[in-house]
């Protein structure tokens, strides 16, 4: 197990380096130099001073050297200073991680909590009412863009029924109790989860359906176990494995979707910060957020892989 985690962490580090290279290349493609932002034309800084600043920031070095500077600073927790907000990027991001994690995690968990029982029931009794219902949910879910679902939810629950808040995390002027946050969380979480709920349910249904005809299920029945034991002890665990893989694959899309969902519901997470940074062309902030979001997804993937490994003993011998 230790070896597995180590190996998995190493691949994640390789992926991380790839992502940082891509991000850095993107940033260097962006129009303008960081100096343009610092140096206003009327500030009267001389060319010599400019060169000194350039040298201090390492901007006179070749791009790959600059990249290593950036990487080194980043590992020391220095993501640079926001151009527009004039505060360290780390500080700006720090307060936004919590809300984004809350939104993404709750959506992932909600999708799993609905998909597992529904998909299990559908796969266990295929071509019956509940199976058709889960198919409809799956196809509708897959085809429903989260921003459209978000607008529909606002239309129904906030405008027509006036049940739920549609903006922010707290009531205005309130420091926020857990119940209040929960109430604000419902709509964004539903909007973000809907698509994955469909995909997960379908995956669970299909793997359950396939597992039910596996030989070990027949063996379990041949032992005289009752159907409940056959289902919950023998089949479910095996049927969960493909769903866990799917959850790993969907993690990136889920966090990506959170950016849009946060924007619609003015959720104070990294997504809203990111879109503001894009609008302001605040490069250090954009790069910082991209890197942090990627790290979150990579760590999430490692966690999912470890869960998979705990459920499937065969993996140990494969790596």
């Amino acid at each position: 197990m230790g070896r597995y985690i180590l190996k998995r962490t190493l691949t994640a580090i390789v992926a991380f380096i790839g992502i940082t290279i891509m991000t850095y290349c993107l940033a260097s493609l962006m129009p303008g130099s960081p100096l343009d932002q610092l140096v206003q034309p009327e500030s009267g800084i001389s060319n010599a001073e400019l060169a000194a600043i350039e040298h201090k920031m390492g901007l006179d070095q070749p791009i790959y050297i600059q990249y290593f500077f950036w990487l080194k600073n980043m590992f020391q927790g220095n993501f640079g200073v926001s151009y527009t907000q004039h505060r360290p990027v780390v500080e700006l991001i720090a307060g936004r991680i919590g809300p984004t994690l809350l939104l993404s995690l709750s959506s992932m968990l909600l999708a799993l909590f609905v998909a597992v029982p529904l998909g299990t029931a559908a796969g266990y009794r295929p071509y019956k009412g509940i199976d058709y219902a889960s198919s409809v949910l799956a196809f509708v879910g897959q085809a429903a863009p989260n921003f459209f679902v978000a607008l529909l939810l606002i239309y129904i629950f906030a405008v027509k029924l006036r049940l739920l808040p549609i903006s922010g995390m707290y009531n205005s002027g309130s420091s926020g109790t857990a119940g209040e946050v929960l109430k604000h969380l419902i709509l964004p979480c539903l909007a973000l989860t809907f698509q994955h709920l469909g995909i997960f349910t379908r995956q669970m249904r299909n793997s359950m359906y396939e597992c039910m005809s596996d030989d070990y299920v027949r063996t379990a029945r041949a032992k005289g176990l009752n159907e409940r034991t056959v289902l919950f002890k023998h089949t479910l665990r095996n049927a969960l494995l493909p769903l866990i893989t799917q959850a790993g694959l969907s993690l990136g899309a889920l966090v990506g979707g959170a950016i849009i969902t946060e924007q619609i519901f003015s959720w104070p997470g990294m997504g809203t910060l990111m879109l503001k940074a894009i609008k302001d062309r605040d490069y250090p902030l954009i790069m910082g957020i991209t890197v942090i979001i990627s790290v979150i997804v990579l760590i999430g993937n490692i966690v999912i892989d470890i869960i998979y490994r705990m459920l499937d003993p065969r993996i140990d011998d494969k790596v």
Partner: protein, 289 residues
């Protein structure tokens, strides 16, 4: 040669038959076909002016404006049709870019194995493990948003799904006797890949292509919705929904955003259903029912 033709045609015939058994897939295909026909024909037979600004702003649907007008007095129906053309065009061409990158890489990874396999598949892993929406946003904003940029970005970011499906197929094809036979008769690697591997990899490529389109349309509309994709005045389904970013519009002018959202939804669900049927039809191993 004749014999193999016969085999191909019976495979094709079986595939068509399997597809037709899949009733929902047939419905999906029908809806997509009708939709494409409408998008092509309506601008010719109707007088649609998607960008014409008129004084009749924020009108509810009536006879002259089937779906009302927006805040600039532009006809929502005309914008819906032209927006659909844009969205479908971007969906199709960006998957074409994905295929152009993904098919060769998938074949190379599966055929050569070893280092090529490790590098390409790890790269695919990496692309799939990063939140692509995040990089998409950065990319389109760097490259200045336009239809061409969207096609390029979605194409470059979306190739791993092609690689995965192709790679799996090539792994099995490369072990086939006829590939071994070709190798013993002195056919080079390139020849084997083009003559034997590629034709046998068409069905996974078709499946990846079909499922790629809804996902590309989804990405395009999400970016346009955020104002980072197709720029106004040009219409796309995504940026039509962008108009609904205030509660006032959401509640009082549903004709501005519900039709565009429904169009995305119907297109996506139809193509997905079609793709499901296509996958089952092309792969006889996966049983239907």
């Amino acid at each position: 040669m004749k014999k193999s033709n016969k085999k191909n045609s019976s495979y094709f015939h079986d595939a068509v038959e399997r597809f037709m058994h899949h009733k929902l897939a047939v419905v999906g295909l029908a809806v997509v076909t009708v939709e494409i026909l409408l998008l092509v024909i309506l601008p010719v037979i109707m007088n649609l002016e998607p960008n014409a600004v008129t004084p009749a702003v924020n009108m509810a649907p009536d006879k002259t404006h089937l779906l009302g007008t927006d805040t600039y007095g532009r006809d929502t129906f005309a914008r819906l049709i032209y927006g659909g053309r844009t969205s479908l065009k971007i969906g199709f061409f960006s998957v074409l870019v994905q295929a152009a990158i993904g098919i060769p890489l998938g074949i190379i990874a599966g055929y050569y194995r070893k280092a090529a396999e490790v590098i390409i598949m790890r790269l695919a892993d990496m692309f799939q493990s990063i939140p692509s929406m995040c990089l998409n946003i950065v990319l389109v904003s760097v490259l200045s948003p336009s239809a061409e940029t969207l096609i390029l970005v979605i194409g470059v970011m979306g190739w791993p799904s092609f690689v995965r499906l192709l790679y799996a197929k090539v792994l099995s094809v490369r072990e086939k006797e006829y590939v071994e036979a070709a190798r013993t008769t002195g056919t080079g690697n390139l020849g084997i890949m083009l003559k034997y591997i590629l034709p046998n990899s068409i069905s996974p490529a078709l499946v990846a292509f079909t499922f790629g389109i809804p996902s590309a349309i989804l990405t395009e509309s999400a970016l346009s919705f955020l104002g980072l994709g197709i720029q106004i005045p040009e219409a796309s389904w995504g940026n039509m929904l962008n108009a609904a970013q205030s509660v006032a519009i959401i509640s009082t002018k549903p004709w501005l955003w519900i039709p565009a959202g429904m169009c995305i939804f119907i297109t996506l669900i139809s193509v997905n259903l079609f793709g499901d049927g296509l996958r089952d039809a092309l792969d006889p191993k996966t049983k239907i029912g």
